[in-house]
Subunit: 255 residues, 2 copies
Amino acid sequence: MIFFEAHKRIGMEQQYYVKVLENVSWGLHFHSAYECISVLEGSVECVIGHERNTLTKGEAAFIMPEQLHSIETRETSKVQVLVFLPELAEDFHAVYQEKVPQNVKFVCAVQEWEKEPENIYLLKALLYRVCGSLVQQTAFVKRKTLSQDRLLYSLISYIEEHYMEECSLNQVAQICNCDYFYASKIFSETAGMGFLEYVNRLRIYRACHMLRETDYSVLRVSEECGFQSLRSFNRNFTKYVKCKPTQYRRENKLV
Amino acid sequence: MIFFEAHKRIGMEQQYYVKVLENVSWGLHFHSAYECISVLEGSVECVIGHERNTLTKGEAAFIMPEQLHSIETRETSKVQVLVFLPELAEDFHAVYQEKVPQNVKFVCAVQEWEKEPENIYLLKALLYRVCGSLVQQTAFVKRKTLSQDRLLYSLISYIEEHYMEECSLNQVAQICNCDYFYASKIFSETAGMGFLEYVNRLRIYRACHMLRETDYSVLRVSEECGFQSLRSFNRNFTKYVKCKPTQYRRENKLV
């Protein structure tokens, strides 16, 4: 289970990446980079903005900076993901940054992504090809940020900053000064899961990372990731990862 | 016979062009655009800078702005030519404008040039692909402008401006304040033909253009293109175009 991929802060380490991934599932999130997902095998469900689409083999979707999106594999999938910062396709960004594609789905030749571009010009060629194919295939419309979006950004940012503590929708709703039931409904509709499930998935994703990369005890991992008890941690871990934390660590620990 | 192609002043009408041409021969010239020539069938001889190369099927050559070059078809050829202004590949230009490729020959996938790019991003993708492939395949060295080059630029510019009048190497050598025999040697060595032959070829090229595009009498065309007599015009025309001016006009006149 990959739930959150680390391209939120892509700008700090690298300007872009291209990866082939299997059976991806990323919860609702947003980031400052452009993203293109192209399906090589199987299919994925994706939510981009408020639109839900199924992408099958040969289809791609394009995501604008700061656009809410999620991806879920229901059966199996193999996708190619290209993430890049706006400055790498400046001319495109200058014209389209305030817009969104009318159709997020498009067809995008990806065979050339197979090997890492060997220099900045070949990388730019690839990015401009993707942007150019998109522009060729769809109209763009002015981007509207709905009050719903602003609420979702607030909720997701809050979770990002507070998942290691107690983190309830009740608290956020108070902070955002909005109705609990309204926030719950909007969140579930767009994220495709309840607020608490989203928080727990994120916690487990971070726990996996910690189990792989540190020597912290399971108890400490559980606490650092915001679980109130080891029991709750174990239950959630087994639910999403399909094995126990110790077994996961044994099989995935980086030397 | 195509001797001079009209991309010298490409900047005035368009920023780039892609064309497939057969049996090209262009005399020594230079312009402010980048140029890439890729051989689809047959072969061409090209001089770029001071280096002479034979390009055969699948091979391409890259020409930097203001770099002297000529192309000649000895038997048959079918080439794809891409010419573009520096501003279309700004990042490349910023780094390489003062340099020249160590090897002008490279391999460049051209199948994608087959149809006109449908938007500016697809065009940029194509140009960056060409630049990126070149950078991948060759080192660059600092560009040296030799005194020979400066002399050649002067001679060619002089011909460009004076071919419609009497235009002798003797005059130019005086104006450039250089030795007649030295200028003659340098010119012949680089252009692959004598000064007078170059002038006459250019005159005939311009005469062809005039015969196609205007209703001027053959005498007027001959005079406007700098021939001292109709006899000399007819002789040169038949030599290079392999038919008489009237026949050429009949077969090529634009309606």
